[in-house]
């Protein structure tokens, strides 16, 4: 059986992935393009005695290489392994979509065009004569509707036919002056009997566009000495004729003129049916200068509430389920090391991963809806003015707002930012938005030191202060590490569309699987490591001593509890983790932290929820403590000064995110390098700000 390798190309919002779903029974593989964090989807299926292998390239408006997505698409089309290009077009916006098609045709590859959203186009009064368009472009153009599943068989037929027949030469006829220069160059190549693996006309166009890749190739060839003066002459001709020296611009004008011409000859518009009106009406409300922003804030608030309120219900079940499993394992295997590593290490680790799944599913359903309906672009439009002041992009709000719930889905949400630099900057500051797990820490400390009537306001202030610091940090990073010109903010505002269940399900299930697979493995390994560090080395003599003591006081529950706690304290203090805490004390000394606070923060690297429990153990109250415990608050007041408590809150607010989040960050940012940078950046920022707070507070409250 033959295999047809297809490169799937289209502008954003043309229903590309929708079309794939319409192909029927397919196997999807999601990975990354080598070296970059751009999703690479490969789809395999069998049909009519052929194997199909489709590579879904990121949506691109044109074949330039400014954004990472465009670069990936361009590189794949230039050097990738494929037999033909399937170009998907939005029939309702045919002219602009044809701009890209014209560029694809200039690549000298086999191309098949799917005129998608055919049904919608007819409804809007856009009638495309596909036979005529096919003739004009010299390739098959097949009307399809991914939604109604029409035209799929015809499209497959056209693909197979294109695969089985030899490629036709480039059919496009540019304007006379441009063609003249192209002919000069191609005939020169023919005269010189130049051997080229790409079509001569394609080569000539690339030279006329001053394509750097082609120049690099020619610079080392003997023919260059003769070619160069010829090219200079051609450029001069073009400069005079087009009254500009922008060669790339000239090419684009030519290309756009071709698209315009093709539309003129093959498309009829019935303007009466044009229902841009609906989008106009919705936009009159949603992007209104006055009510647009409040509506957006309300929607965000709603999404946030649903994600973390509804999400907490299954989270409790998952928590209870894994809790029961841990207990079950321990009682089944007995009180052994094996039981402990499986239960407290592995199962607890897996549980911690799965715990975030409800949040991720709900949040990403919301985000998928925002994107599929077209609202996301409106929100970015409304917010860009504010975020741009801090060097961020309008769409940064999605990860940043999600960051208040949990950093794990927040980091993943940063994918809504298509530009690499915008995304990285947003990833770096997402941690400043205090996540839900930091709440117990704040509540405990504030409860211990503030009057009850002020506690709520102070807590709110802590959150706002964190967000403010995040924006300042964004500005600071933008002026240093991310310095450079602003990326253009020219963003399509797609038409409002009703999302389909399939589309949303597709997006959400993919995100969920990706999270489970990739983050899961790392988190599991690291959980076992942290379990080890907090349980070893063992002190059998001390344990034996305590056991005898406990036996002596058996019956007196108070004393048994106290002794047990003393033992936990001893074990933790002398474990590898405790030793690290002691060793790192000099680092925390200037902030007024004792070794207990240091260890609490270090266990917080595993999960922020652990900070309060650790403090419970270390201040001698057992590990059953929570943030509402008055006795722990009393202990804290007795042991910790107010300035170091303030410094502690600030440090906890900014320092390195938990294990699960940092692993997701590593993946989204694109490698360990960024993980290390984030560690240095957050630790330095946390230390410096905590130190400043400690110093100032010491002066004020002394």
């Amino acid at each position: 059986m033959k295999t047809i390798k297809i490169a799937l190309v289209g502008q954003p919002n043309v229903g590309k992935s929708h079309l794939i779903n319409a192909f029927g029974d397919t196997r999807l593989k999601v990975g990354n393009f080598s070296g970059v964090t751009v999703e690479k989807k490969t789809i395999r299926f069998t049909r009519d005695e052929y194997n199909f292998e489709v590579t879904d390239l990121p949506g691109s408006y044109s074949l330039t290489d400014y954004t990472i997505e465009e670069r990936v698409t361009k590189n794949f089309l230039d050097d990738g392994d494929y037999d033909l290009i399937l170009n998907v077009l939005d029939s309702t916006n045919i002219e602009r979509n044809l701009y890209l098609t014209m560029e694809l045709l200039a690549l000298d590859k086999k191309v098949v065009v799917a005129l998608n959203m055919q049904d919608e186009a007819v409804n809007e009064g856009v009638f495309i004569d596909d036979k005529q368009l096919s003739k004009l472009l010299g390739i098959s153009c097949v009307p399809t509707s991914a939604l109604k599943k029409t035209g799929i068989d015809e499209l497959m037929g056209a693909i197979v036919q294109a695969f089985d027949t030899p490629k036709k030469t480039c059919h496009l006829q540019y304007s006379d002056p441009y063609e003249e220069e192209i002919t000069k160059i191609t005939s020169f190549f023919t005269e010189k009997n130049y051997q080229s693996d790409i079509d001569l006309k394609t080569l000539a166009i690339k030279l006329l566009r001053e394509d750097t890749q082609i120049y690099k190739k020619f610079r080392d060839e003997a023919i260059w000495t003769e070619l160069q003066p010829m090219l200079n002459e051609s450029y001069e001709h073009l400069y005079i004729h087009y009254k500009t020296k922008d060669l790339d611009g000239i090419y684009h004008d030519e290309k756009n003129a071709l698209a315009k011409g093709a539309v003129k000859e093959s498309v009829k518009f019935d303007n009466a049916k044009d229902n841009n009106g609906l989008t106009d009406k919705i936009d009159m409300v949603l992007t209104n200068q006055y009510v647009g922003l409040p509506i957006f804030l309300f929607l965000m608030w709603g999404l946030f509430q649903i994600t973390f309120e509804w999400g907490s219900i299954p989270m409790d079940w998952i928590d209870a389920f894994f809790g029961a499993m841990i207990d079950g394992t321990k009682s089944f295997l007995g009180d052994t090391e094996l039981a402990s590593v499986i239960a407290d290490g592995a199962i607890a680790g897996v549980g911690a991963v799965i715990l975030f799944l409800p949040n991720i599913i709900i949040l990403f359903t919301g985000i998928a809806l925002l994107e599929a309906t077209g609202y996301m672009a409106r929100a970015a439009f409304l917010l860009d003015g504010f975020f741009h002041r801090f060097g961020l992009h309008g769409k940064s709000f999605v990860p940043l707002v999600s960051g208040f719930g949990c950093s794990v889905p927040a980091y993943m949400a940063a994918r809504v930012l298509k530009n690499d630099r915008d995304r990285l900057l947003t990833l770096y500051i997402t941690g400043f938005m205090s996540c839900g797990a930091k709440l117990p820490v704040y509540v405990l400390i504030i409860g211990a030191f503030a009057a009850p009537e002020h506690a709520g306001n102070i807590l709110f202030g802590v959150y706002i202060f964190g967000a403010f610091l995040g924006l300042v940090a964004a500005k600071a990073l933008k002026m240093t590490a991310f310095r450079g010109d602003d990326e253009p903010f020219v963003m399509e505002m797609p038409k409002y569309r009703l999302p389909t269940f399939g589309m949303v399900f597709h997006a959400v299930s993919q995100k969920a699987m990706m999270y489970l697979k990739k983050a899961g493995t790392f988190i599991l390994a690291a959980s076992v490591l942290i379990w080890f560090a907090s349980n070893y080395p063992k002190y059998p003599e001390m344990e034996a001593q305590f056991e005898t003591k406990i036996e002596q006081v058996s019956g007196d529950e108070e004393k048994v509890k106290a002794l047990n706690n003393e033992l936990s304290l001893y074990k933790l203090e002398n474990s590898y983790l405790g030793q690290v805490g002691h060793a790192s004390q000099p680092f925390f000394e200037p902030l007024g932290f004792d070794w207990r606070m240091a260890v609490a923060l270090e266990t917080g690297l595993a999960a922020k929820e652990v900070v309060v429990a650790t403090m419970g153990i270390l201040y001698g109250l057992g590990d059953e403590e929570d943030e509402e415990s008055s006795s722990l608050a009393d202990k804290l007041r007795a042991n910790v000064t107010l300035p170091s408590a303030i410094a502690f809150i600030i440090f906890a607010m900014i320092y390195f995110p938990c294990l699960a989040a940092s692993m997701v960050f590593r993946r989204e940012a694109g490698g360990w390098k960024h993980w290390i940078y984030l560690f240095i950046f957050t630790t330095a920022a946390a230390w410096i700000l905590a130190f400043i707070a400690f110093t100032i507070a010491s002066v004020i409250f002394s």
């Binding site: 400014y66 602009r96 611009g249 841009n276 860009d384 020219v490």
Partner: protein, 72 residues
């Protein structure tokens, strides 16, 4: 006059684009080219971002970018 000065609800024709290559290219792929008719749909409250429409394509851009588009 530049595009950022065009009032909401008004249309005009693009005469020149004075942008650097990257922005120009992006404009190009959206149909923001010489000779196109541009319609202003909306400004944000702070007048830092605007929504325009050319043919069937609506797009958002910053006012600082619209300054680089000459219209008449």
């Amino acid at each position: 006059m530049t595009l950022n000065l065009l009032q909401k609800g008004k249309s005009a024709t693009i005469t020149t684009i004075n942008a650097e290559k990257e922005l120009k290219n992006r404009f190009n792929s959206f149909g923001v080219v010489k000779g196109a008719t541009v319609h202003v749909e909306q400004y944000t409250l702070a007048k830092q971002t605007m929504e325009i429409r050319i043919n069937k394509t609506r797009m958002a851009l910053r006012v600082s970018e619209a300054e680089k588009v000459e219209i008449s």
